[in-house]
Symmetry: C2
Subunit: 205 residues, 2 copies
Amino acid sequence: MRYRNIPSETIRRLPIYLRALHILKRQNKTTISSSGLSEIVAVNSWQVRKDFSYFGAFGKRGSGYDIDELAKQISKILKLHTRHRVALVGVGNLGSAVLAYPGFEPYGFDIVAAYDSDPKKIGKKIHGITVENISELRGLRKDKIDLALIAVPESAAQQIAEQLVKAGVKGILNFSPRHIQVPKRIKVFTIDIAMDLARLPFYIA
Amino acid sequence: MRYRNIPSETIRRLPIYLRALHILKRQNKTTISSSGLSEIVAVNSWQVRKDFSYFGAFGKRGSGYDIDELAKQISKILKLHTRHRVALVGVGNLGSAVLAYPGFEPYGFDIVAAYDSDPKKIGKKIHGITVENISELRGLRKDKIDLALIAVPESAAQQIAEQLVKAGVKGILNFSPRHIQVPKRIKVFTIDIAMDLARLPFYIA
């Protein structure tokens, strides 16, 4: 089944629902109402119901959604039901923090390679991963790695992105505050922490 | 003027528009159409027009929106027209990366204080900021700091959040993969990089 007509804003919210469902499962809950889920994720309950209706998940009156079933469906839509191999490029402060980050596991991501250009870092093991020379990025293709995180300085980001695309990477999460240009078939999300901070002042008195 | 009825999803997009407008300004552009802006930010152009209509910004047929004027309006709505003093708690790898991050300036944020519990870090200057003892968090109030970034280990996040609230902080950006509970009047955004990564596989072939 292809889910072609799900709006991108719904796709954006699906991982948020999924995280909440993971937490509920850990609390041994088995069902959740749209309004219950709505409160956890801070999305209107009509929006929750609408988002789920795009892939035919309808809660039962009185008991709500089956948590296990819903989590499975969302994982499948997001293609998170198979594990993904991920490479990190740039093992500075941010990259090291990424390698130490415990939150990738529940989504099925394995960070299996890390690259840097600094001779002092190459060959060193950081949080269980041996840092490789950035000149070896081509190796990604034979390692079946299709996702990459870019945590290099702003000035190097575009060039690294181009090398990653050549090495067969199809999706990039970019931490540098630089807009990256890649062919249309490649998906890039840029994380800009300043932009997240920029949402706060609106809400404070 | 209070902008009470702007949907939270529109508020979420306003910093994205603002960043694009900053870039266009640097390129010496003076006007932009909704479809031009739509392409840069990857939001439907009808959605761009709808978002702007909430605060009465209407583009002119043929010439579009005045970039300067629009940026000013959005800054004002987001309360970014005055500068904000921000504290960082936790100067590990992630916190150090935050201190080095060049992207806060355009939004008017000044990171003016950094705290850690590690005696080896306290008193040290990192990217121009002297790390203070985490036991001194109370000092935030007299320093007129109302926003804080939490980059401490997951197990310490809740306790730090409570201390920040006591010290008068009203908005928190939380980098730990832990849900933080604070009084309703305090706004918390949690950045979960795994969740952003979880959006990528859907889009790759």
